[in-house]
């Protein structure tokens, strides 16, 4: 197996750099590859032939990426379904879903949160944290979880902070329109929506996301 070490490293790097496959999953596939290599060598194949045979049997890294990504989409679908059901029940229990829907306010809150996260952690780590939590439920190494959890903790605080900022801005606009009582209702509704969106995103997205990520922690052996 000594002669394959550098090839195995390159193969592993290629697999992990495509995304979709976690380090512990790559460990498992690497073991599979080594077993196939050993079997091929035992059967009389030369090093080149054994490598070709083993990789063909495992599937190339693109195929593996597709297979593992497909698996994640199923879990994402079930999580999105959970959100949809929650919002539907909320809409049915009140005056209707349209009451809560105000796209500019949602975008303002989302922009404040994402801006804060990207400033703190960069786009790459933020994206990895969100996809690690929402797209899969397979076990994850503790080191990776500990690296990604701060994104959710910060996101939670940012969501509440963005609703506070939104309330302040909305109140400032409200103060500017005090002379026009007909616009007071609109201003107060905006204030309430800011708090609502901040609370929903904090509790349903980041608090849940943090727990989903934590659920993926590999048990101690």
């Amino acid at each position: 197996m000594h002669e394959f070490e550098s090839r195995l490293r390159e193969w592993r790097y290629d697999l992990l750099s495509r995304g979709g496959v976690r380090a512990w999953q790559a460990d498992e596939l690497e073991d599979q590859l080594c077993c196939s290599l050993a079997a091929a060598l035992h059967a009389g194949a030369d090093a080149e032939g054994a490598w070709r045979e083993a990789v063909e049997a495992l599937g190339n890294t693109q195929t593996l990426h597709t297979e593992y990504t497909k698996d994640r989409l199923m879990t994402l679908t079930s999580k999105l379904a959970g959100f949809a059901i929650t919002l539907a029940i909320l809409g049915l229990a009140t005056t209707g879903p349209a009451t809560f829907l105000h796209i500019p306010t949602i975008m303002t809150v989302a922009a404040l949160i994402m801006g804060g996260l990207i400033t703190s952690f960069g786009w790459s780590r933020t994206k990895r944290a969100l996809s690690a939590s929402f797209q899969s439920a397979s076990p994850l190494e503790a080191q990776e979880i500990d690296h990604l959890l701060p994104v959710f903790k910060r996101g939670y605080r940012l969501a509440w902070m963005s609703s506070v900022i939104g309330v302040v801005v909305a109140f400032m606009q409200l103060m500017g329109n005090l002379s026009d009582p007909s616009r007071l209702g609109e201003g107060l509704a905006l204030v309430t929506l800011m708090v609502f969106y901040g609370a929903v995103i904090a509790e349903f997205v980041f608090a849940n996301g943090e727990q989903w990520l934590e659920n993926r922690r590999l048990p101690c052996e």
Partner: protein
């Protein structure tokens, strides 16, 4: 060559049955399937692992890490009680389908 749909549909009962005989790992499971099916069922090695992970998420199998003879980390899987129940249920379904098809094909050849 067996159709992809049939290979996919049979993967779960095959894995559960192999694990019902004792703890095993990916490569050994694939070799067992190949030898029992006389190479009729040809899984790409990498396809097995998402199946194993889904079964694990559903609580039908359990896993633990150990070291292989090649010095790599190896994951061993075993059937849980819930997995045994699921296997029993799937076995009834497959035997029912098999019996129906055998009856129909038997009648058409008569």
């Amino acid at each position: 060559m067996t159709s992809k749909k049939l290979v996919a549909a049979s993967s779960e009962p095959l894995v559960l049955t192999i694990l019902s005989h004792g703890e095993s790992y990916g490569y050994a499971i694939i070799q067992r399937v190949r030898s029992v099916s006389r190479d009729v069922l040809q899984w790409t090695d990498g396809m097995l692992y998402p199946v194993l992970h889904r079964l694990e998420e559903r609580g039908l199998i359990d896993a633990r890490w150990d070291c292989s003879e090649h010095g790599r980390k190896r994951r061993y899987y075993r059937l849980t009680m819930k997995g045994e129940a699921a296997l029993a249920a799937q076995r009834v379904e497959w035997e029912s389908v098999n019996a129906t098809l055998t009856e129909l094909w038997g009648v058409s050849h008569a």
